[in-house]
């Protein structure tokens, strides 16, 4: 079974209690419709588990299939450099049906980020290496498409549905107290 090869570290985007007994890692693509579907599901799961769960998002843009996935990921990183990663993350998924290059500055503006700085960062590829590093680590960990989820370091091959995920996390929590 595939295991997460890159442990959660200080460079990761993390939501929730750092001391949580369970960690859910998602490798996702902002243009992937299945990731779009799992986005609200993850939110519900986070709400359900509260302090017992922390959530980590890493980039896995399928650039050959999704032309806007890479610039979207870099835009999220740009926002992250201004401490607004999760706000941009949410906006990207909430506006996925109209994702294109023109949407990115609109979202940046909505978060009161500099549109010209974003443009420069995208042109210069300031955050490309960061996104590539997430991707490479994902491949090594057996990420096999998007979204791929890991529960406490184990690849989750079940359905990306609310109840199945809750059950999977419950199982991980039960085995972590044993």
């Amino acid at each position: 079974m595939s295991k997460l090869k890159v442990p959660v570290g200080p460079d990761d985007h993390v939501q929730g209690d750092p001391a949580a007994a369970c960690t859910l890692v998602e490798y996702g693509d902002y243009e992937c419709p299945y990731c779009g579907l799992v986005h609200p599901t993850v939110k519900r799961v986070q709400k359900h588990f509260g302090k017992r769960l922390r959530f980590v998002f890493r980039h896995f843009p399928l650039t050959q299939m999704h032309p806007f996935a890479e610039p979207a990921a870099e835009t999220a990183e740009f926002a992250g450099a201004h401490k607004k990663f999760w706000e941009m993350h949410d906006l990207l998924y909430e506006n996925q049906d109209r994702l294109d290059l023109a949407l990115l500055p609109v979202l940046a503006e909505q978060l009161k980020l500099s549109v010209s700085d974003l443009g420069n960062a995208l042109i210069q590829g300031t955050y490309r290496a960061r996104v590539r590093a997430d991707f490479a680590g994902g491949v090594r960990s057996g990420v096999n498409g998007t979204p791929t989820l890991f529960i406490n370091g184990e690849r989750y091959d079940g359905a990306p549905e609310y109840q199945e995920l809750v059950d999977g996390i419950d199982e991980a929590l039960a085995s972590s107290v044993r």
């Binding site: 299939m65 090594r140 096999n144 498409g145 998007t146």
Partner: protein
């Protein structure tokens, strides 16, 4: 699951259509590591299906000088349309006539369903299987096993 050919076995030779008017044989690639990726069918309805993933990871495979071949029982025209739609940049072989014969030779045919397993083979420069893996049919095996196998090949 059937028993797929294990490491240490000489990889069976084959010659299959790679486009409607071109054929490719394993022997054509001798001297390079070859990744042979059997999969059930074109057009699986997920993002980042197995072939799309390999398309993204292609530069990693190329670092090892390796060639990757996708192989399913779909016909050459079907492969052509699929490769075009997904922008695939590596060959897809049509194990179409006689149907699934190459899959059978590699122990990777599901006669119940009439399709190939999700079976991976890494074949060394010497034409011997260095690593093989059969994934449950519903689980895309990813690329980590392939990369580890390529790394362990003798230089």
């Amino acid at each position: 699951m059937p028993a797929i050919l294990p490491a240490g076995t000489r990889a069976p030779e084959f010659r299959l259509p790679v486009t409607p008017d071109k054929q490719l044989s394993l022997g054509d690639l001798r001297g390079k590591p070859v990744i042979l990726a059997f999969y059930p069918a074109d057009w699986s309805p997920v993002c980042g299906d197995q072939m799309a993933l390999y398309n993204e990871v292609l530069p990693e495979f190329q670092r090892f000088g390796a060639e990757i071949l996708g192989i399913s029982v779909d016909g050459a025209w079907c492969h052509a349309a699929f490769a075009k739609a997904r922008h695939l940049r590596f060959p897809l072989l049509a194990d179409f006539e006689p149907k699934g014969r190459v899959a059978v030779e590699y122990g990777a045919y599901r006669s119940k369903d009439g399709v190939a397993e999700r079976a991976l083979f890494v074949i060394g420069k010497d034409g011997v299987i260095a690593w093989s893996y059969c994934s449950p049919i519903t689980v895309n095996p990813g690329a980590d096993g392939i990369l580890e196998a390529l790394e362990s090949l003798p230089k």
